[in-house]
Amino acid sequence: MMRRLLALLALWISLAAYAQVVSEHDMKAAYLYNFAHLFDWPESSRANFHLCVLGDEEVGAALQRFDERRVDGKRIVIARLSSLAPIRLCDILYVGAGEQASLPKVRSTLGNQPTLVVADRGNLPAVGVMLGIENDRLVFDVNLEHCERAGLKAKQTLLGFARSVRRASDGEVRPVSASR
């Protein structure tokens, strides 16, 4: 009986292993890595580029494979955070579902310093980029007003793929007609 159960388990596992899919957290990590390239970053005295994760262990783990890669000639350093204490050191800060409640605090701590805050769902006015799932695709909304206030310039490529872009002038979300 036990052997049969184990055999059944093994079958499931081998089936799953061959399926051609990307998990949500692997994809989020890849997006964060791409965001690093899709913004113009202001001059900074730091030697490294700090990509921080708060409130999502799995995205943190998935990001590890981008450690030591480069952006603008700087070495990417992945930081898996447990608290808000060091967030002013981050260039990109990803706030996962587990820390949604901290978003107001994140905003007030960072002020207008050039940190790109990416949130998993949550409230767009508080962050630069918000991720979501739509039709089995990972989509994102860009809050250009928030980015500009922080001195971050989004490249046109990024805006082209966004589900929506909120600009300083219109104050409301306007869908962008993307090439897809």
């Binding site: 292993a17 899919v21 994809m27 930081a79 060091p86």
Partner: protein, 648 residues
């Protein structure tokens, strides 16, 4: 052979994750993703198969104590002797063994008292379940993290945040046998992020008149114990958190009259009262020191007091009293270094001072004066210094190696290392395989020292475990685990005349399977089976260790979406009593209805326990009347319970 199949990495996917870094963003946004699991995720970072019960389960199935929660979990069961609830599972759980070879933590605070190492999981426990956010059971040894006493597993209780209550809540409960509880709780999250939770409750149960066939003689009131089954408690709890700082305190005082003849010398159908008081203060501060170093600092203080009064079978001094008291404090400093991409290095140290361990027994003449010659007072103390280190090394995209050890040095014992090594393999994001080997130990506690004197020695366990977890899709999960425990240096009576020595060995092994699913329409299902085989120190089948345990839980919203029903069934397989009589297996069902939504701040629930009014017995920790063939304890039939809450 099956293992060989399991460990074959999927070549089609082996390089794909690497690819994501080089895939142009334009293609990335077109890729289909598979959403993360909708099932509840474990917080505990442990290489074993964690079982989780959340606040919504507690509500849906009408759990009223931690013992109820434990009973619902894969491979676990509790045994009541109408005094305390005791926990069993994986071959542990010999009758009367205080819930002590597992560890019960509340928000990181170890709740065991420092005299008996008992964890209180019934009405003598520290928390009302209304304050519990989740309970995690981490099977397997935990000495590598927690040191002394984490032999069978760890039960982590996480309390709610005040913000999740966000009201002043008044609650009243009523149940069978004249049981009532009143509770008032207040929770709030403030604008600046500070969070407060305060609660107080009182419980009062008259209990039942109980019939015990072992004492059915005219001199013993025909075997009836009348009016001596009452129970009451008071509880207070408070928690304040702001940013990384959490300060919390709890208090419980439970008084119970014991209706059984619980010891050899006690007299049946006479008042036998016990009073257990537990309290604690736990203050912790968590922060990140820079980008790569996490720090958690903790200070705790604990207090336990017990008072018991009984009538004993002794004409000159018929009244016996026990008074015990213990106080302890400790500090713990833990760091997790994440300087290297593929390592998480945990290290830290703990100092614990059990500065007051007082045990006393006193006997009184009929006129109330003390017999000082036969009375005993004992004082003990112990301080323990511990260091621990562990590294989780991700040496491949799909493979992790977790190696750790903890060293504990108590003032009255030799130092001891508790190592653990675990290998974790994730062939894909839906599947996890974990294999681990660990060693754990338990120091003799103050009560052991009082009982066995110089013979009191530490006890050890070596555990091997293999776990498979697989998400069939984002709503369904299958968990399987096989384990073996080998215990050594257990205390046994060598000659049969009370000459104890720490020379006993035993082993238990087993298999557990669980299926869990959670649909978007609010229906949740969890079912599990556990097969275990436990041998005692004589190589015989262990007492009170059922070979089979099965659990089934199903909850669903009812049409109209105002009510939810929760049905629970538990099967406790046949097991041996202390006199090696086999008790039949028993299946029990519980049914609960609870409101899904609040109406003007009001919510309610209604439960029926032992729905089909089954007569059943459990293994009793004490001998009733040797030779009569009566050595088990009858449990309650069908009972009812209703709870009303009002949020202001």
């Amino acid at each position: 052979m099956t293992l060989a199949i399991c460990f074959q990495p999927g070549p089609a996917r082996a390089t794909e994750v690497e690819d994501l870094a080089t895939v142009p963003f334009a293609q990335l946004v077109q890729r289909e993703v598979v959403s993360a699991s909708a099932l509840v995720r474990q917080i505990s970072d442990s290489p074993s198969a964690v079982a989780i019960v959340t606040a919504e389960d507690i509500r849906a199935y009408g759990y009223r104590s931690i013992a109820d929660v434990i009973n619902s979990m894969r491979g676990l069961y509790t045994t009541s002797d109408r005094r305390y609830e005791y926990m069993g599972g994986r071959g542990f759980g010999s009758p009367g063994d205080y819930t002590g070879r597992i560890m019960v933590l509340i928000d990181g605070y170890v709740t065991q008292d420092s005299l008996f190492n008992q964890a209180y999981i019934d009405e003598s426990g520290l928390l009302d379940l209304a304050l519990v956010e989740r309970v995690e059971y981490v099977p397997g040894t935990g000495s590598v993290t927690y040191g002394n006493n984490a032999m069978l597993g760890i039960i982590n209780i996480v309390t709610r945040k005040g913000g999740s209550l966000n009201a002043l809540q008044l609650s009243t409960e009523a149940g069978s046998h004249d049981a009532y509880r009143q509770r008032v709780s207040y929770g709030k999250r403030f604008e600046n992020g500070a969070d407060v939770l305060l609660s107080a409750s009182t419980y009062d149960a008259a209990g039942q008149n109980l019939y015990f066939p072992a004492y059915d003689t005219p001199a013993n009131n025909g075997g009836w114990a009348n009016g001596i089954d009452g129970e009451r408690n008071q509880r207070f709890f408070g928690k304040f958190s702001y940013e990384g700082l959490v300060v919390e305190a709890g208090y419980v005082d439970r008084k119970k009259t014991v209706p059984t003849k619980a010891t050899e010398f006690s007299v049946f159908n006479t008042p036998f009262t016990i009073d257990d008081e537990n309290s604690y203060l736990n203050a912790s501060y968590e922060t990140d020191l820079g980008l790569h170093l996490y720090s958690a600092s903790r200070f705790y203080f604990g207090h336990y007091a017990h008072e018991g009064h009984r009538v004993i079978d002794d004409l000159t001094t018929p009244y016996a009293q026990r008074k015990h008291q213990a106080d302890w404090w400790g500090v713990d400093q833990k760091f997790v270094g994440k300087w290297f991409a593929n390592h998480s290095i945990l290290f830290g140290m703990e100092y614990r001072n059990d500065f007051n361990q007082y045990l006393s027994r006193a006997y009184f003449y009929p006129n109330g004066s003390i017999d000082s010659t036969s009375s005993v007072k004992e004082n003990y103390s112990r301080n323990t210094t511990s260091v621990y280190v562990a590294d989780e090394y991700r040496f491949h995209d799909r493979w992790r190696l977790n190696v750790g050890a903890r060293f504990d040095k108590a003032s009255d014992l030799n130092g001891n290392w508790s190592p653990r090594v675990a290998l974790i393999f994730q062939p894909d994001f839906r599947t996890t395989l974990k294999a681990s080997y660990s060693e754990a130990f338990r120091m003799p506690n103050a009560d052991d020292k009082a009982t066995y004197h110089l013979q009191a020695m530490p006890e050890f366990v070596k555990a091997k475990e293999f776990v498979v977890q697989h998400d069939l899709d984002r709503r369904m999960r299958l968990t399987g685990t096989v384990y073996e425990y080998r215990r050594t240096e257990q205390m046994i009576d060598v000659t049969g005349n009370g000459d104890y020595a720490a020379v006993g060995n035993s082993r238990s092994r087993g298999l557990e399977m669980e299926f869990e699913s959670r649909w978007d329409n609010g229906v949740r299902l969890r079912t599990s089976g556990a097969w275990q085989n436990a041998r005692d120190t004589n190589g015989q089948d262990a007492v009170n260790s059922p070979n089979v345990l099965a659990k089934f839980q199903l909850t669903s919203p009812l049409p109209g979406d105002w009510l939810r029903a929760g049905l629970e069934a538990q099967y406790l397989g046949s097991r041996l009593t202390a006199e090696r009589r086999r008790l039949e297996g028993v299946a029990l069902a519980n049914l609960t209805f609870s409101t899904e939504r609040k109406w003007h701040g009001m919510s309610a629930s209604f439960s029926i326990r032992n729905l089909f009014d089954r007569n059943y017995e459990v293994v009793s920790p004490f001998t009733w009347a040797p030779g009569t063939g009566i050595d088990s304890l009858r449990m309650d039939g069908r009972t009812y319970w209703v709870q009303l809450n009002l949020d202001i």
